[in-house]
Every structure is written in C-alpha cells, then in structure tokens.
Amino acid sequence: LKTMRFMLLFSRQGKLRLQKWYTATAERDKKKMVRDLMQIVLARKPKMCSFLEWRDLKIVYKRYASLYFCCAVEEQDNELITLEVIHRFVELLDKYFGSVCELDIIFNFEKAYFILDEFLMGGEIQDTSKKSVLKAIEQSDLLQEVSCIQY
C-alpha cells in the first residue's frame, strides 16, 4: 500500500477514539471528513463490503467488537493489503494490552499511538514483524519507566 492518507478508530456511537493523518490536512477539513466518513460507515449493514469509494479515496474499514478501524488509501492502492494492515494493528494492540477492548484504547490512547507509530510510519508499513514492533515498544516503555523512577 502506498501512503495511507489517514487512519481512524471510532466507536459504534460515533465517538472518535484515535486518528492519525499522514498528509497535511487543515483542521477544519479533518473534522468534516471524520464526520462524513463516520456517518457513511456507521450506516452500513454488517454484511456489507468492507471497501467503499469515497471522494477520490478508497475507504477500507473493519469492525472489531464495538470499534471501527477505518483507513483511507489512494485509488490505485490494494484494498486487501490495507485490510491486512488493519488486522495486524489490531493483533498488535491485542498482544500489547492482552485482549484489547475499547476502554484500553480510551484510557491509554497515547500507548495506542506509540504502537501505531512503530507499525506504520508516514503511511508506510515500517515493520511487518509483530515481534520486532512489540519489542521496540517494550524497550521504549522500559526506558520511560526508568526515567520515571529517576524523576
């Protein structure tokens, strides 16, 4: 997949839980896009296809429990690999938090960001190995704890 435009996590109630933008977008546009997209995705039935074309983008989304993971990629990008990216991210969260739930992400939203940043960078997959991503996170956390103790 090429430069993913953005990734959104939102709940069934339409609350945004995480957003990551990989291209510079004005704040106002971001809000409008998030609102529009949530409306469209939430209105879709469970049996419907995971891909949809929206404006000049391709939207790939998947629902895990009460959370929607939603990515926007460019038209010529592969939607199946995008779906795989989403799934891998969920796996990473699951490994890190241990059976992740929506609340984990709400209360540790900065951790969720850290994981995402280790997995994707600038919209590109940084490392396809779950192991090495988690290792990097653990190492950083360790560092954080050490510096906390020092403080």
């Binding site: 090429k2 430069t3 945004l16 839980r17 995480l18 957003q19 933008w21 990989y22 510079a24 977008t25 004005a26 704040e27 809000k31 592969n78 690999i81 709400i106 209360f107 939203f109 900065e110 960001y113 850290f114 940043d117 280790e118 960078m121 600038g122 590109e124 997959i125 940084q126 490392d127 396809t128 190995s129 090495s132 990097a136 190492q139 950083s140 560092l143 954080q144 510096s147 906390c148 020092q150 403080y151």
Partner: protein
C-alpha cells in the same frame, strides 16, 4: 495566598492525569463542553509551571482533547518545550503531541530544527526513533532541507531499528525537498540488500513509491527487484514489488509478446483484444508501442483494416518529429500491402492514405510510399483514374512537399507521381496543367533521378496534349505547347545529372523537329503518340519461363557453328560462355527443381486464388496463352472494381479528397509563412559565418581531435589525490567546440555534486543550460565512486580561431568519506590550441602549387635547432600533432598542407640539414600562422 495557589496546583497535578480527564469526561455526559472548558483552564495553569512533568501531563491531556475536536494550537510552544525535555518519557509525549497537532503552517516548527537534529544524533536509539516518527508527521520543506543530511546518515546507522525508520522517512523528505533524492538515492539503493528484512522492506516500499511516480528512471533497478522477487519470502514485500514491476511496463511488454505468439495459432482470440492493443500505441514506452505495432500487423483483416489504419494515422499525426513516426509509416504500408494487398477492399482509400502520408515532413521513407503508389496504379487498373487525379494534384502542389529539396526524403513520391501522370496521361482531366507543373523551373532542384523521370514523362504528356489539341481544330494551341517544351527543356539540358541531360536533349531535338512539322501544318500527334504506344504491364519475375517456345525454334541448336576447340582453349573468356550453355542450364533446372517447382507452383496457385488483384493481361496476349496448354498459371485474374467495396462509417474517397483539399488550403497559407521565416534565419546564419572567416562553409568535417591540456597544480594533486581531468575534444562546427571531459576519481572516497565552471572570455564561452546565468556552473550529471571515471560533454562557442585560447576554470565537488564530507575544489586551465582548429585535409601537389602562386598568402618562417630525429619521424610528428598532411616529399624537403575549420589554408615547406630544421610557412591569416608555428616549435622543444 500564593502558597495556597501553589499547593492547590500541586494537588491538581496529582489529582488529574489523563485517566482522570477521560473518566471525568465520561462522567459529565450532560455538560461535557462545560467540563472540558474548566479542564482547559486547569491545563493552562499547569502549562505556566516550570515543572516539566506537570507540563508533559498537561500536553498529554491536550492531545486527547485535540482528538475530541478542541483547538489546542495555542499550546504549540509548550509542546515544543516538552519535546525538548531530556527525559524520554516527556520527549515521547511531546513528539506525539507535535505529530498530532502540528501541520505545515504551525510557525513554531521552525524552532524545532535544532532540537530534532540533536535527538536524531542521540546515542539512545529510542530518542532517535521518536524524533523520526514525529518528523514523519510534520516534516516541512524547510525541515526536510535542513535535516536531509542527518537522516541520510541515519540510513547507515548500526541499529536496524533506526535504519528502517530513516529509510521510510526519506520518502517524505524526497516529497518535500526533491533535491535530496539524487545524493541519497545510491544509499537508498544499497538498503534494498540490507541484511535486516525490516530495512529491506522499507527500502522496497520507498523505491516502489518513487518508481511509481516515474517508472522510467528506475528501470535500471529491475534486475535487482527481480532478484528480490524470486528470493524474498515476505509477502508484503512481494506485493509491492509485483506492483512496481507492472509500473515498469515489463508486464505489458511480456503480455504483448505472448499475444504475438498466440496470434499465430489462435488469431481469433487475440483479435478480440484489438482495442486493448490499440491502446498500447499510446504508451509512453517505445518498445511497448513497437510490440503493439507488430501485433497489429498480424491481426488485420478485411473488416478491420480501415479502422486500424485510421487509428494509426492519428498516431502518425501525434508522433511528429520522432523516429517512431517513421516506424509507424512503414508499418502502415506493411500492414496494407501484406500478402499482395490481401486485406484492402477499397483501393481509392489506400491511395488517399498514401497521399496523406506524403504530408509527413522529414521522413526517410519517401521511396517506400512511391513504390506503393506505382505498384497499385500499375496493378489495379480500375483505380488509375483516381490515382492519376491524385498524382496530378500532388505534382501541382509539389512545392509543398519539398521544403528542403535535397534532404527531404518525401520528394521521392514525386518520382511516382510524375511517372503515373505520364504513363496514364489519357486519364488526366487537365493534362496541360500537369505538363506545366512538371516543367516548372523549381523541378531542377529535385534529385537527378526524379528529374529524369519528370523529363521523360513530360514527353509522354506532351504527346497526349498534342493529340487532344490537334483533335480540336485550333492548330495554334498545339504549336504553343511545343513552344512551351522548347522554352523549358533547355533548363534540363544544362543539368549536371547525365541521365537528365541525355533525355532532355534528346526530347528537345524531337520537339524542335515536331515544331518544324507543325509549322508546315503537318499533323504529327499520331506519330508522336506512337513513341509511347503500348501499355507497360507488370510481369511476375518468372513469367518468362511460361512463354511457350514457338514451333520450329530449337533453343539448343547452335546459331553459329561452335568455334574450334583450340580457339576456345586459347581464349579463357569463351570458356565462361561454354559453361553457360543454354542446354546445360535448362536440363539442370528441370532435373533438380522438378519437385521444388511443383511445390512452389502449388503455393503460388493458392496465393493467387486468394488474390483478386493479380496482373491483368491484355486480350491479345491471352490468345497466345490459350493456344498452349498448361499455362493457366500465368495469372490473368480479372479485377472488377467498378463498384468499389466500401465499409460503412468511413468517409468516402470523395470526402477524403474534400477534407484534404481544405486542409491543404490552410496549410498552404501556414507553410508559406513558415518557409519565409526559415529562409530569413538561414540567411542571417550564413552572414554571421562569413564574418568569422573567408571560406567558412558548412562542409566542415566533424569528429576532429582537439588536444586540450589541463594544467593541474601539482600540490593540489598531492593533497587531493583523487582525480585527473583528461580533456579531449571534438570540433564540430565553425563556432562550436565540443569538449569531452573525463573525470577520474583516483582516491578512495565518493566524489559528488561536481560543478564544472569556467571563466568565459570574450572569444570563448561555455554554453550553459537554458535558464542559468552567465556565471553559473555546469552541474556534472553523475557521481564518482572510488576508482571510476566518467565522461561529460561540454559545448563551447568560439568566435575567432586565430589565437590559442586558455580558459581558467574550477571544479568544485564534495568528497564523501564514511563519516564526513569535505567540500573541495580543483583549479584547471582549458587550453584550446590553434592546432586543434586545423583539420587534416589532403591536397594534391598541383592544387598546392596554385595556392602558393595565388599570392593571397602571407609568409612566415621558423627554425628548429638540434632536432635529433629522422626526417620522416619529424614529418609524422607534425602530421600527428598538428593535423597536417604531406603533399610532396623530395629527399630532405617536404611540403605540407592543412586547413582550419574556418577554411584558412596553411602551407608548410619543411627543410632539414643536419640537426637544423627550417620551416617556411604560408597562410592567409598571419596571426593564425604565427601561433601554429609557435605550437610546432613547442612540440619539438619538448622532445
């Protein structure tokens, strides 16, 4: 009071962390906005404190609020503060906040450059990692420019964790600051073979994305990607690579190739993809287009021929000025003419196509079009009226075709046009007009063989015109026509081409005789037309064999008694004749080829059966054939084209004509303007050249070596120890000198960003790329790895060549070591000697003598002392180093000659006695001569 505030805020700090905020928001579902605004107030208080932990906590909360849609841009500076913390915990939060909140127009980003640079070079890989991650979100063109070098260094970091991040962020940097691509690319390419799979896949990702934007530039990486594709087990990487390879068009190419294989066995299945293949003609890649063309050749049918050719014609218009257009032209003709015009159903259409093709300027394939026109006009009788009309228009507008008579290959079609109009002149609507068109003075500028045809066919036309004019009672008209011929033909009699001359003078005499008869009021038309009576028929190459031997003629019998044996032995040549005795050859043929012939006959029969347009024989000859059995192979298929087949939806031939006429009218006006302009330019160009030298013409021989010496500072060489610039050159034009500079890297480091600059003199100037100023350097378009040399070509304009030129220059470059890079410069001098402007030109001794006698040359002489070499070595040396040729040599005396690129003659008389050599020289340019002699002297003082 103050203490209370402090205490309260400390309480708050311990009370409300991110979790508390989240919980609080969840508990205040009713009045969320109000609750958050109090939270923001608290955060503002927290940010005012010096304690970095409090600030970081506040920033963390802000990041959460930002996601909920609240504006936090006012805290940008605080975010930078938290980013700058030395503690990883806070730094991490700071960068997260920055990556979520900053965008290109956030002005505090400018303040972060140094902090980021510090973090990038931090010994802690996670500091670096966090900085890279953050940067990937908010990198601006300025940041990209300032940090590109740091990130590039990180691509070679010892930790794969950093390497892969650096590689990925490089893509963002390229997008924001494209100039960084060139220096960074070699290293990026290295990363494709990184031992760490993560780094490797990152590199694949980045290069794939770059390549997708501009596949052509990355084609050289195709083998590397292919290797990765076959060796990698990482599916993510594989998907990327396959996508990339499809960008390279390789897949398209292979597809087309496969199709051409399938076509041979299953033409139907390929034909259904016709549109797809036609699309490939639009491809950027020429090899794809050529493949597609090949395919089209194999898949035309009677039904789709017109459609395909129509599309190809569109492409011909688009491809103006490329060699690809020539390729298209030949393909169109190949496609139409294949298997004896098997697929053409409407020959009027084909003629129109051919005529349309003549409008292409500068094509090399004029003769191809011409031969097609001839072939069709001769073999397809029904088309002749149409063809003749078309050709007459072509002749009438001949001036349009022949902008530049000699060089323009398209004028070959006039050959065909003239012949067709002459041979089939009875079909001409207005033969008089065509006759006049063929005798225009401008015709004399056409190539000789075309003129010859013009003259011959003018005679044929003349006979036709006479016939019609004598038929109508006006006798004077016929005489006027003869007068026209007599007036115009002398032009051709003077032609330099023998063929033209001969025909013209022959016909001129004939016409004069006719005129005499006309004045006596004798009717001559009948007799004149008898000159050209009978029709020229196309004959199959082996048709002669089919003609039956008349009765009573024994081809094997001697016509004369054979000469006596003694005679034939004496005279060798006769033995050759004996070998070729008809008897032998005949019997051999029949014996050996009996089966072969039968086979070929069968094949040809079949071919002819499929071909409705085979030769049509005249009835009289048919009778002869009918008398003898077994000659039905002589192809005499009648063509009935009175009702030409037409494919619906295509313009009729008449419409073709109309459209064409309209277009021509327009073009005529346009072209006239253009031509005028061109001529003006030419004239002014020539004028300039004349100023620079007395005989400067275009006929300057190219590819001439110029010795240009770089004078290097020896100490520079020592300290640098990298490179020697060998400079050699080509003289191309009177005023343009092409110098090829060889850059050789002799050190162990990579040299890059080389910029070559010289100080222009009044006389010599470096031609710089368009748009650059007069002092800008020439950027050398390559880098030099250790031990590698490469060549760059530079063009100089030189006004006067009589003086040697020295140009000072500098080469600046960057020496890239493993850990550092140094900016270096190298001074050099370019030396254009006068000798380098001389061209070795042979001269005959009588011409040489004339030249010396002419008295136009100025004299000068020089003496060389202590020359210790044989005389012929000395001469060879002068010839080799100074581009002279020996005219004549007598004992210890020799005359030599050379010519400058601007046409100055330089003559030398070299004499030797003992160790002294005297050179007397003459030249029409004393300054040039003096300098050349100085240079010769120097050559010999060096040895």
């Amino acid at each position: 009071m103050a203490l209370k505030i402090v205490k309260g805020s400390i309480d708050r700090m311990f009370d409300k962390n991110l979790q508390d905020l989240v919980r609080g928001i969840r508990n205040h579902k009713e009045d969320e906005a109000k609750y958050i605004s109090t939270c923001i107030d608290e955060i503002k208080q927290e940010l005012k404190q010096d304690n970095i932990a409090v600030k970081a906590n506040a920033v963390c909360k802000l990041t959460y609020l930002q996601m909920l849609g609240y504006d936090v841009s006012w805290a940008a500076f605080n975010i930078v503060e938290v980013m700058s913390s030395s503690k990883f915990t806070y730094k991490r939060i700071g960068y997260l906040a920055a990556s979520q909140c900053f965008h290109e127009s956030t002005d505090v980003i400018m303040l972060t450059t140094n902090q980021i640079r510090k973090d990038l070079s931090s010994p802690n890989q996670y500091d670096t990692g966090v900085a890279l991650t953050g940067l990937s979100c908010f990198v601006t063109p300025d940041l990209a420019r300032d940090l590109a070098n740091d990130i590039m260094t990180l691509m070679s970091h010892t930790k794969p964790y950093i390497r892969k991040k650096a590689v990925l962020i490089m893509y963002k940097v390229f997008l924001k600051y494209p100039e960084s691509l060139r220096p960074a690319f070699p290293r990026l390419k290295e990363k494709l073979e990184d031992p760490d799979p993560g780094v490797q896949s990152a590199a694949v990702n980045v290069i794939c994305e770059l390549a997708r934007r501009n596949p052509k530039n990355y084609l050289s990486l195709a083998p590397l990607f292919f290797k990765l594709m076959t060796s990698s087990t990482n599916n993510w990487v594989l998907i990327k690579i396959i996508k990339l390879v499809s960008c390279f068009c390789v897949v398209k190419y292979l597809g087309l190739l496969a199709m051409s294989k399938i076509l041979k066995t299953h033409p139907k299945s390929v034909q259904s993809h016709k549109d797809l293949i036609l699309q490939c003609l639009d491809d950027k890649d020429e090899s794809i287009r050529l493949r597609a063309l090949d395919l089209l050749y194999g898949m035309v049918s009677k039904k789709n021929l017109m459609e395909i050719v129509k599309k190809l014609m569109l492409h011909v218009d688009k491809a103006e000025g490329t060699t690809y257009r020539d390729e298209l032209l030949t393909k169109i003709i190949d496609i139409c003419s294949q298997s004896n015009y098997q697929y053409i159903t409407n020959f009027e259409w084909y003629i129109s196509i051919l005529v349309e093709l003549t409008r292409l300027e500068g094509t090399r394939h004029g003769h191809l079009i011409a031969s097609q026109m001839l072939d069709v006009a001769i073999r397809v009788k029904a088309i002749r009226i149409f063809a003749v009309a078309q050709m007459a228009t072509l002749l009438d507008n001949a001036h349009l075709l022949t902008g530049n008579m000699q060089r323009n290959g398209i004028c070959e079609v006039l050959y065909a046009a003239a012949w067709i109009c002459g041979e089939f002149s009875e079909h001409l609507e207005n033969p008089m007009q065509t006759l006049e068109a063929m005798l225009r003075p401008k015709v004399a500028t056409l190539p000789g063989h075309i003129q010859a045809v013009y003259v011959q066919n003018a005679a044929k036309l003349f006979s036709t015109v006479l016939k019609s004019q004598e038929g109508s009672t006006e006798g004077t008209a016929a005489q006027e026509t003869s007068q026209l011929m007599i007036d115009r033909l002398p032009l051709f009699v003077q032609s330099a081409n023998l063929e033209v001359q001969e025909r013209a003078s022959c016909i001129l005499q004939l016409v004069k005789y006719i005129q005499k008869l006309q004045q006596k009021e004798v009717e001559v038309a009948e007799e004149v037309s008898a000159l050209f009576a009978g029709e020229l028929n196309p004959v199959a190459p082996k048709a002669q064999k089919k003609v039956p031997v008349p009765e009573g003629l024994d081809l094997d019998a001697w016509i004369n008694e054979p000469p006596s044996e003694s005679e034939s032995e004496d005279e060798q040549p006769k033995a050759i004749f004996a070998k070729e005795e008809p008897k032998h050859s005949r019997s051999r043929h029949t014996e050996v080829d009996e089966k072969e012939l039968a086979r070929r006959r069968e094949a040809r029969k079949q071919e002819q059966a499929n071909n409705p347009f085979y030769i049509k024989a005249s009835p009289s000859s048919q009778k002869v054939y009918q008398e003898s059995p077994g000659v039905e192979h002589i192809p005499v298929v009648q063509i009935d084209l009175t009702v030409p087949l037409k494919v619906p939806g295509l313009p009729m031939s008449d419409q073709y004509l109309k459209l064409e006429e309209e277009r021509r009218q327009k073009e005529r006006a346009d072209k006239k303007k253009k031509e005028k302009k061109k001529r003006k330019e030419k004239r002014s160009g020539r004028g300039r050249r004349h100023d620079s030298g007395p005989e400067s013409e275009e006929d300057i021989t190219p590819a001439h070596m110029v010795d240009i010496v770089t004078e290097e500072m020896p100490e520079m060489c020592l300290t640098l120890n990298h490179k020697v610039c060998d400079i050699q050159g080509n003289l191309q034009d009177g005023s343009q000198v092409v110098v090829s500079v060889i850059f050789e890297n002799k050190c162990d480091s990579l040299l890059k960003s080389m910029e070559f600059n010289v100080l222009d003199s009044l006389n010599s100037k470096l031609q710089r790329p368009e748009g650059s100023g007069p002092h800008d350097g020439f950027t050398v378009p390559f880098q030099l790895p250790p031990g590698v040399s490469n060549e760059a070509r530079l063009v100089f304009t030189v006004q006067s060549i009589v003086m040697p030129q020295k140009m000072k220059g500098t080469l600046t470059f960057i020496v890239k070591n493993e850990d550092s890079s140094i900016h270096e410069k190298l001074d050099f001098k370019l030396h254009f000697t006068c000798t380098s402007y001389l061209i070795t030109t042979p001269c005959y001794s009588d011409a040489f003598a004339k030249l010396l006698e002419s008295g136009d040359l100025k004299c000068s002489s020089v003496r060389l002392e202590e020359v210790n070499m044989p005389f012929h070595h000395l001469l060879a040396r002068i010839c080799f180093h100074h581009h002279f040729s020996v005219v004549e040599r007598i004992d210890s005396c020799a005359s030599m000659y050379s010519r400058s690129i601007q046409g100055h003659h330089v003559c030398l008389l070299v004499k030797t006695s003992g160790q002294t050599v005297s050179i007397d020289a003459k030249c029409d340019e004393p300054t040039l001569l003096g300098n050349v002699l100085d240079e010769i002297k120097q050559t010999f003082s060096q040895c």
